[in-house]
Symmetry: C3
């Protein structure tokens, strides 16, 4: 009997310890840059509410207001994170009647931001749940929701709080639709959607679209009005000699054009949004 | 009795566990940039002395030697952090007879750096205490105090050490005085003190100064020799249409001029230190 | 007796707690930049395998493919870190028959990367052990080994796993040899190997080489074809007036040329790889 009580007491103590050190990850993606107090302001606020948080910067170098770029980066980053991770999207954070602040639960992770369509670009299908935030801002000023509202919401979730405690259910997301590569009998017309730090060109053509279109027959990938071509898909950059063009699929299965050890975008003179066409070779 | 002793033993054990995981936050602000080993050197040293530290980068992109910019960023960032946070200021770290290394305790947080006047810009009034560091550098070389001295001092504070163990009491801070917006009957003359990542213009005119000057009457905010004006204060950027000029107060209550979804500094041709004048509208 | 059993039970419980919070540091150095999902992808994967990891960015701004720069930065950063730290080198990560993925144990720390010679530049002598990684990639795609292989290997080491469980022993490193400052009777011919954020010039002349060459006699340090000279070694930048040239040793004992509060590289028109010559003064 007496042991039973002691045990309970200790169990409680140990539960406290475990509880206290509950970690949990919050990521941040934004267009705040790295020269201002914005990023640190959000982090400080998260630690104030949840001292044991692990905070990860995805990127703060998103072009100001560019939701599409932020969606591309976050879509490819979040899948590496453990279940329960909370992602704060610090872009176009100003709330309006049309674009409200939400928390969405998708793929066992939480996403907090302004629903201007960015969520529909990150997710492949409908999220499990959506709640419109109605927790008050920490300040009377409404220009810094990342710090004054999203950080609080994130800390609430890390503490094991439920998303429904942050606001009321919302039925659906604002939809943003991206140009999808049109296919006809002879060609699959994609475009460059991202240029990475190596000046590699990432297109909006997925591996499965590519394979469906080529279905084993010969092809040419044409860019910069037929000036440059590739007619083979490689497994790695090193499959071609340094300085040569190589087509391959990225680690997230998008068609990529690169130059081994070189800078494709600048050397080939190709920019974001430029067309990349896959054509069946005429026999 | 016997239970009492067990309890004590376990309490000790559990205290050890709690002790070991004592976290504590250190922030870093500097002009070290992100392409060198300086930031990592400081972090490694902090972890060596205090493995459970949580280290937060405020910014390492401060213009070299620009204490005023660093003070502006840190002043606006530190207030989001929990009590007990330790801030390392890695700018102009070289010690001289005039400018010594200090730790100051202010607003329940610690600030470590070189007292060249920067502390007087961060604090609104005198700190609770100031100590001149006299702990030895970790290396015979004196060019990297951020790593070889400040990191050690920060770890000492995170470990629960007292600041007075780091050096001897110092009476006062070196004072740096910034140009304050002069007011006369007709105008309040401020200037741009910061341009953020969105090219928003932050001025040195506070909300209270502004309100005291305008006291409910009509006004004009004039910049670039009367070429551009604003005659209203808004609550958020979205109160005006994209591309239009908007005046509002920042989350830290400074007058800000912006262009909704646009880049005010470059579009209006305004630079840091340019004048921003608030004038009473003549009737 | 009965107390003994309780004690064991609690010891186990407490061991579990300690175990769970085993931290351990992983650092990342790469040419991935800060605008992409690459850095976050690697971090997410590390947290997935080892939730309590402490991850430190050394730099992600290494020039693409520049192993020599990465080696310089890591060599100077790693020494500040505690024993047991794991360093992931995310540069030229593509594996080939000649350049395999390895983990090396040196100076009580682990280094994971592609053995293209970079390890031989980081270490001063042979590492204690080298293992060639043969753990599978997390993805069928081989273009992102930093995330799909190195992160797993790092988590394994943080978990207390042995490096020999990651692959088979490898006898030696690929050797990369850097130009060493040639010495003759009259001069010691070095070069600029790094320009830091302050535009300070760091040379490949070590303090000991310098001292051996000058051995107490008078000298001149000549750069930009005799246009600029220095004939004294100072202890700190502040030993000369702002705007004046100062020669000193860096915190890692390399000869450095700087301008106090100024930008030596741009003001003197000196670039990476430019010669810096130490000459004995003729009497």
């Amino acid at each position: 009997m007496i042991f039973g009580r002691i045990t309970q007491k200790w169990q409680k103590l140990i539960a406290d310890i475990n509880c206290e050190k509950e970690m949990g990850i919050v990521t941040l993606i934004s267009d705040w840059g790295l020269s201002d107090y914005y990023v640190a302001g959000v982090k400080g606020m998260i630690y104030k509410f949840h001292p044991n948080a692990t905070i990860v910067d995805i990127s703060h170098q998103i072009q100001p207001f560019d939701s599409i770029e932020a969606a591309y980066i976050l879509k490819n980053a979040y899948q590496s994170f453990p279940d329960g991770t909370v992602h704060i999207i610090g872009i176009n954070t100003e709330e309006s009647i049309k674009n409200v602040h939400i928390v969405a639960y998708y793929n066992k992770q939480y996403f907090i931001g302004t629903d201007d369509g960015i969520f529909s670009l990150i997710f492949d299908d409908e999220p499990d749940s959506i709640f419109e935030l109605d927790i008050p801002h920490e300040s009377s000023n409404l220009t810094f929701s990342g710090r004054d509202r999203f950080a609080k919401a994130a800390a609430h979730l890390l503490d094991g709080g439920k998303p429904e405690e942050l606001g009321s259910v919302r039925k659906e997301l604002v939809k943003k639709i991206l140009f999808n590569p049109p296919v006809n009998e002879d060609s699959l017309k994609g475009m460059v959607i991202h240029i990475d730090n190596y000046h590699n060109l990432i297109t909006n053509i997925t591996k499965s679209e590519f394979n469906r279109f080529t279905s084993g027959s010969e092809f040419e990938i044409i860019f910069r009005s037929q000036k440059y071509k590739a007619s083979e898909i490689h497994d790695s950059y090193g499959d071609v000699r340094p300085g040569e063009i190589v087509a391959l699929f990225t680690s997230n299965d998008m068609l990529e054009i690169a130059i081994n050890k070189g800078k494709a975008a600048s050397l080939l003179g190709i920019h974001k949004s430029d067309p990349i066409v896959v054509a069946r070779t005429k026999n």
